[in-house]
């Protein structure tokens, strides 16, 4: 009876009927979600148990192989068809913890299976392609370098970045040029991160970086990255290039990066060019000038540093205080004992509370 009344009501009120129908769909969907969550958990637990058991067997055998108690064939005999990619993942984790001979043995253990990864480079998902690149470069040494370099042109920036980082980790100067050529692809990435990546290749990358810094046809961001990387490498040979950039550029970020480089590798004879930027309207440029003068400034600059204590920007005053501390400028003690509004900053430096 009640069903009949309900049925009649909904026939007469299609709006309510629609709401009820939507409601039902929603409730069924919610139930399906709950069941899905449960099934997912059951499946995940089962899979995790399976892999844990398998990896425990592999692990003990791997340790035997790495310590030369067993030949590699004994481990390979445990790898069933279909488990190869999982085995490579397992070796990846091992590889990250090891160095030297043991690390090379891990590469040898992976070698027979690495070709199975190659089809993944054509996978639709960029994450899978990136993972494949990671596996190949970590475990495959130079054998797959061609594929990895080619991945710098992958349509996905993620894949290109994984490839660039993997190549940089190989610490081979051969890869510096392709990475630099593709640096524009990582325009969104933080320059200091890119610089660190390039510097990780080692001193052999410096000539290519100097060239990039000197070349005004490169975009300022790439030149900034090059300057930062040269600074990380403490590349003294780049002092002249940096000096020339200082005269030529008006780009704020490039100026800042170049001044930071000069603070590390600059020479006394370059201070004239550096002082020209003391009057820059940008406080970040003036603060960098202070840092450079603290490192390579002459006695003439002592007064400049004291004057900078009155700069409207606290950052410039901070860098000037640091510079005075580093250059053992006696004016810092006088400032600390004075009633200067920033005397506390001088005291902070002298008590080691700064920098």
């Amino acid at each position: 009876m009640i069903w009949h009344r309900l049925w009649t009501f909904y026939l007469e009120q299609p709006g309510y009927a629609l709401v009820l129908l939507g409601n039902l769909v929603f409730v069924v969907g919610a139930l399906a979600l709950a069941i899905a969550a449960l099934l997912l958990r059951i499946r995940n637990d089962r899979t995790a148990r399976h892999w844990r058991a398998l990896e425990e067997r592999w692990e003990s055998r791997t340790v035997e192989v790495l310590t030369e108690v067993s030949p590699p064939e004994r481990l390979w005999s445990l790898i069933a068809r279909g488990d190869e990619l999982r085995f490579l993942n397992f070796l990846l984790r091992f590889a990250r913890r090891l160095t030297g001979t043991e690390r090379r043995r891990v590469d040898e253990l992976a070698a027979p299976y690495l070709d199975r990864v190659l089809p993944q480079l054509a996978a639709r998902s960029p994450e899978r392609r990136a993972r494949a690149i990671q596996t190949l470069t970590t475990l495959g040494a130079r054998k797959y370098a061609f594929q990895v370099v080619r991945s710098l042109d992958d349509p996905s920036p993620l894949v290109a970045m994984v490839a660039a980082r993997s190549l940089a980790r190989r610490e081979s100067p051969d890869f510096a040029a392709p990475i630099l050529r593709h640096l524009h692809r990582f325009g969104d990435w933080r320059p200091s991160f890119l610089a660190s990546m390039l510097a990780s290749i080692g001193p052999a990358v410096a000539p290519a970086l100097r060239q990039a810094l000197a070349d005004p046809t490169f975009d300022p961001k790439t030149r900034c990255v090059a300057a930062d990387a040269l600074r990380e490498l403490n590349d003294y040979a780049s002092a002249d290039v940096a000096g020339a950039v200082l005269d030529e550029t008006t780009d704020r970020d490039l100026l800042v990066a170049t001044l930071s480089l000069l603070a590390h590798v600059g020479r006394n004879d370059q201070v004239v060019a550096i002082r020209r930027h003391l009057a820059s309207p940008e406080s970040i440029v003036r603060s960098r000038v202070m840092s450079v003068l603290g490192r390579i400034g002459t006695p003439e600059d002592a007064g400049t540093l004291v004057e900078a204590f009155d700069d409207p920007s606290p950052w410039v005053a901070l860098r000037a205080a640091e510079a005075m501390y580093e250059s053992r400028n006696p004016a810092l003690t006088r400032l600390a004992d004075s009633d200067h509004p920033r005397a506390a900053l001088a005291r902070q430096m002298l008590t080691g509370g700064g920098a």
Binding site: L20, R96, L318
Partner: protein, 475 residues
Amino acid sequence: MIYQFVLRLLDIFNVIVLTYFVVLNVGYFITGLFAFRSLRRYVRRLRTLDIEDLLGSAGMPPITLVAPAFNEEPTCVESIRSLLTLKYGDFEILFVNDGSKDGTLARMIESFDLEPTFRLPTGNIATRTVRGIYRSRSHPKLWVLDKENGGKADTLNAGLNYCRTPLFCGMDADSLLEREALTRIVRPFVEDARTVAAGGIIRIVNGCTVSEGTVTNVTLPTEMVPRLQVLEYLRAFLAGRMGWHEMEATLIISGAFGVFRRDLVVEAGGYATDTVGEDMELVVRLHRLCREKKIPYTIGFVPDPVAWTECPATLKVLGRQRDRWQRGLIETLWRHRTMLFNPRYGRVGMLAYPYFVFLEMLAPLVETFGYVTFLAAWLLGRLSPSFALAFFGLSIGLGIGLSFTAVALEEVGFRRYPRRKDLYTLIWVAVVENFGYRQLTMWWRLRGTINVFKKGHAWGRMDRQGFGPRTKPTA
């Protein structure tokens, strides 16, 4: 005649309430879909990330953790110890004591061997007087500012004034960050230089085992009130914020764990001290600043860096917290009302803002209104079973469906509750919370809506138990 009019009015109200619930359903459903898509992609992407490799990179930007504290004596030492063990290259901690009335400062001085020192402020946001600056002899990364009481936003601003790094992390002094949390939350800043702010996920520590400042065993709390909040947090972060992140319209970054670009926050004027929702207000203001000044930017949510926090264990404290949240929401949305349906603010103005105004801010009013008209219709003999079915189906079904979505998203993503028993409990809680607890939450939010006119921006009072007593394994 009047009776007929009232009945007619009731019918109209019923239709309005039902329509509202339909829109709400659709809104949550769409957000959930976006969240699912985003989370799946994120988890796949995580597999391509070698966190150790990132940690070893010199290119990670330096960060200052600004930890504001007011009467945090029971938890401050363990929280700071936990922060000191974070795996991150270049960071310092600014613990800012907001004139605590308990022994917070004394405990900090004693536990970390603090000595008075100097430090130049680099920002000039107006705050209450900083009475003293200390630095730890045993942990040079740790600085402590002691200031006059001025509220959480004022305390964060004081920390911001002394911050020297390009990024700062706003957090609660009683939160426990996971060791790799900073590395993970900084990734968006590294991968996209336009990033101005990113929020991490907040999870509830009640019920978990904490050892030396680290959560070592994740289990659901045994008490019902914290349990209900675990589910709420999953829903808010995994279904809500993940979805908004995918739509590039993140409007909230939790005050308990978010990283910001210092220069932009200073340019925006720091945290607003005249609202209780300073965290949301800052994010909305950053959106405005970047849009109005045409600064390319992104603000996002990262689901894997975790800050563990203690949630209220009693209904009384929880009620106060929800009251504050609602007031913060209303104050923020009212202050920036110019953004509503304003195409100048892109998706934030056209999508997220209307959503928060109509479906979040007004929800307690409409739902309460729905219950009242429902009751009135029943008393007047006007309640049809069909309407009752539709009303309860929509209001209860919505709650259950949304919570199940959050539980499913947790399974797809992170599975932080490894015991299967906890999963069953979460599913059960998703059902029972709709009968009583949800209505109570509505009441607290309604109270917050009324209280919005009573100004007052002191710290929310929270009865802390500390991490110690709850560290016994529950299993």
